[in-house]
Symmetry: C2
Subunit: 191 residues, 2 copies
DNA sequence: CTGGTGCATGACACCAAGTGACATCACCTC
DNA sequence: GAGGTGATGTCACTTGGTGTCATGCACCAG
């Protein structure tokens, strides 16, 4: 079933994402139609919407994997770790996951920053991510308010570091940037 | 020019907002078309889009006024106030502004919570609001990172209190809820 | 009073996002 | 080889959103 499907080229979703990213980068998000994306991927508009709920979603497929990575790291943290330390434990697998995607992350970030609709989607994905992180803290026994706060602070740390990472040209530095951003956050909150 | 325009009923924008809110409340956001809204307001679809950039924006007109209120309060704070205290100084005029809009805020909140598109718009408006608050702190001489953090923390305090306010039935309690939420935030961050 | 200008709206055509319904055709199973 | 499954194509349709031109009242100049 996964092998030997000769009727269609494999990995339709990946081809659509690749085609979409290229076109958004070449001519902008607004100027690119779904029909164009599908055509470049050798598919039809209708098939695009079978793989992605809407035109924006093609750029936000990785968010599920980011969630899983982060959760995995939090759950691997020692049971007696402070809430923010547990959140930060998720930075290890997350940095590893992004290590080989620096080039793509740069292009993607440029596309998103250039379009308000995409920024809206980015914000709601991050909001959902904060909710998931909060849930992991609640399961560790962290009280409600502390979990909410730690999750949002952790997300701010992540966002700042990630933003710096895509602006620089050192793919391997993400882990270090997480630590720097976290240290800044600690120094500011302790003041 | 503002008076005596007898050709059209006045306050087209207000009528459109009222019609939209009613229809969204009666039959849901998705099930309501822009043509319906315009018809109930005695206007046409084209005129709706002359007053609001898109269908969602009709529910987010007040955000500019919220910004101005909050800024006004921050700028009225004593020059030596701590960053978070300056942010909290904005809660006074904000609570006053919302005092007579509790009923509308409840309906509006229910509509937004029921629709992901509207939540996206809400999040980006809050994000923009955080940027404005941060700017006010920078003008007070607060350093970059502290301003970013204080703005986001202040926004979290606002969101939590506002969320409780629309769930309860005591329009006058908003100011007290701001204080309670702020106190909780302080106790959590100092732990 | 007359004619011109400005401005909000109406009317109409159009594009693109997104959806529902049905057809197609390779592959798998029995 | 008969039938089921699943991903895709085809087509018609609704709706958000925009460009363009026409309309008609208010206001102003003379």
């Amino acid at each position: 079933m996964l092998r030997g499907m000769s009727r269609w080229e494999p990995d339709a979703a990946s081809r659509l994402m690749k085609a979409a990213t290229e076109l958004f980068d070449e001519q902008g998000y607004d100027a690119t139609t779904v029909a164009e994306i599908a055509e470049r991927a050798g598919l039809t508009k209708r098939t695009f919407f079978r793989h992605y709920a809407d035109k924006r979603e093609v750029l936000f497929n990785g968010s599920g994997q980011l969630e899983r990575c982060w959760l995995e790291g939090i759950e691997a943290a020692p049971a007696d770790a402070e809430p923010l330390a547990a959140v930060a434990a998720g930075f290890d697998p997350v940095a590893e996951m992004f290590a080989e995607r620096h080039a793509f992350a740069r292009v993607r970030s440029r596309i998103v920053q250039a379009n308000p609709e995409l920024q809206e989607r980015e914000l709601i994905k991050l909001h959902k991510l904060a909710g998931v992180v909060k849930g992991a803290l609640l399961r560790r026994g962290v009280p409600e308010h502390a979990a909410t706060l730690a999750a949002h602070v952790g997300l701010a740390v992540f966002s700042v570091a990630f933003g710096h990472w895509v602006e620089q040209n050192d793919p391997a530095r993400l882990r270090a940037l997480f630590d720097e951003s976290l240290a800044q956050m600690r120094s500011v909150t302790s003041a």
